[in-house]
């Protein structure tokens, strides 16, 4: 069986945990990983607190192939990601000459203040992740990829990184909409899931205009199996549609569903 490549993400920032800011990074990050054949197995959102960041990095780094962080690499006092990652990896935090030179050139010698110099510090031996938006780079230390939190910069960094990562088979997906609530389709859907072990079938309810509907999402790196399972789900949804056609009440469909299973 092909190796499954795994990634985790640590989002660092009090602003997300306080509800002030809506996270805008996870969806983009996760989509890029999926496209690259890498499975995101866990995300943690933690505050700007050294011991919590250290614990999260230590806890996750050996569980995945690639561990990412976003946020906390700027020049202000609350930017403590670089030193926390260095600590978690037991690597000294040092002046990175390449980053130092890059930043000094950008700001000019006279304006390269201590706050700005802070952004040139990385764990020893780290490789830089270019920042085409605002110069200050991210870095890679061991299997930890440290990125900026500002969405425009994070996206540029993800785009750069994914080109360098090894991934496995890309997981394909198909979404089938269904206007019946989950409890009607649950039994049949479970039977289809049992039949197709290579396909992961998820059922995501949503609520609008006073009624529940479901998005049925099928995922697999085996395209043939995905197509076959999708056909069965399509057929199941059509059966419920036919059963409901003579009676506009969903409750009738429910009742009929019970007889169908």
């Amino acid at each position: 069986m092909a190796k499954i490549y795994k990634a985790a993400l640590i989002i660092i920032g009090n602003e997300i945990l306080s509800g002030r800011t809506q996270d805008q990074n996870l969806k983009y990050f996760a989509s890029k990983m999926v496209e690259s054949g890498i499975e995101v197995t866990e995300v943690r959102i933690v505050p700007d607190v050294e011991e919590v960041i250290v614990e999260a990095v230590r806890d996750l780094k050996d569980k995945v192939d690639y561990l990412f962080t976003t946020g906390g690499i700027g020049p202000t006092h609350d930017d403590i990601t670089s030193m926390s990652v260095a600590k978690a990896l037991d690597v000294p935090l040092v002046k990175n000459s390449q980053a130092y030179q890059m930043l000094e050139e950008h700001y000019g010698k006279n304006r390269f203040t201590p706050a700005r110099q802070k952004m040139a510090k990385t764990p020893q031996g780290a490789k830089l992740i270019p920042n085409p938006v605002s110069v200050a780079p991210g870095f890679i230390s061991k299997n930890v990829y440290v990125m900026a939190g500002v969405p425009e910069v994070m996206r540029a960094m993800v785009d750069y990184i994914v080109r360098t990562l090894k991934g496995g088979d890309v997981v394909l997906s198909k979404t089938i909409p269904c206007r019946f609530p989950e409890s009607i389709i649950a039994y049949d859907l479970a039977n289809i899931q049992d039949k197709f072990q290579e396909v992961s079938i998820g059922s995501y309810p949503h609520f609008s205009d006073g009624a529940f509907g479901v998005s049925i999402v099928l995922r697999s790196s085996n395209e043939q199996m995905l197509i076959r399972a999708s056909m069965e789900v399509d057929l199941m949804v059509s059966s419920f549609e036919s059963a409901a056609i003579n009676d506009s009440s969903l409750e009738f469909a429910t009742y009929d569903a019970d007889k169908l299973v």
Copy 2:
């Protein structure tokens, strides 16, 4: 010193980790906690995998006063939250008579299928969290609050729960916008942070129209200290504004900033 009440949230769902769905629950949840004087110390987003949910619940439940979960309590095969939470808490998963009765009444005896009956299972001794949208309840077992993932239902459940929680002093916050990049204000801001230990000062850069700006966010449960620290930050921002007024170039402001510190 007043007790700080802490909460953590586990968001359960492959759909968030795959990048298919944008999380819509965290911001609402976190805002309600903050309003109730409860600090959200960590959020984890995990897949619909029993061992991962069990590990996350076990890991977080003793670190916080209140542990919340969202998602995975529906009737389909991928809804495994209730059994995973029961396992994590070492409590048997049983038929909850109150939930059973409520759901049976809603669906009618003939239509109360096994899939629907699944939603009446909770860890032994759990209290129910009402679901005014679609009946199927959440539950509270020990200090774990299990809520639905559909945003409309989750919100109703959070609104219900917060009224029952004990919180500490409410953390007040003030946001001060600043058009200078972080690296200009970093030194002065750190000095203000040093001076006001009771106030947590965060600096959140954003990027638009090709330029960086910063939201400076001050938080404290001590209103007087918050006001005093905010006044100093206001003054700092005004100083930079004055320095920049004779020269429209931000780089001049940068340079002047260096002289100011």
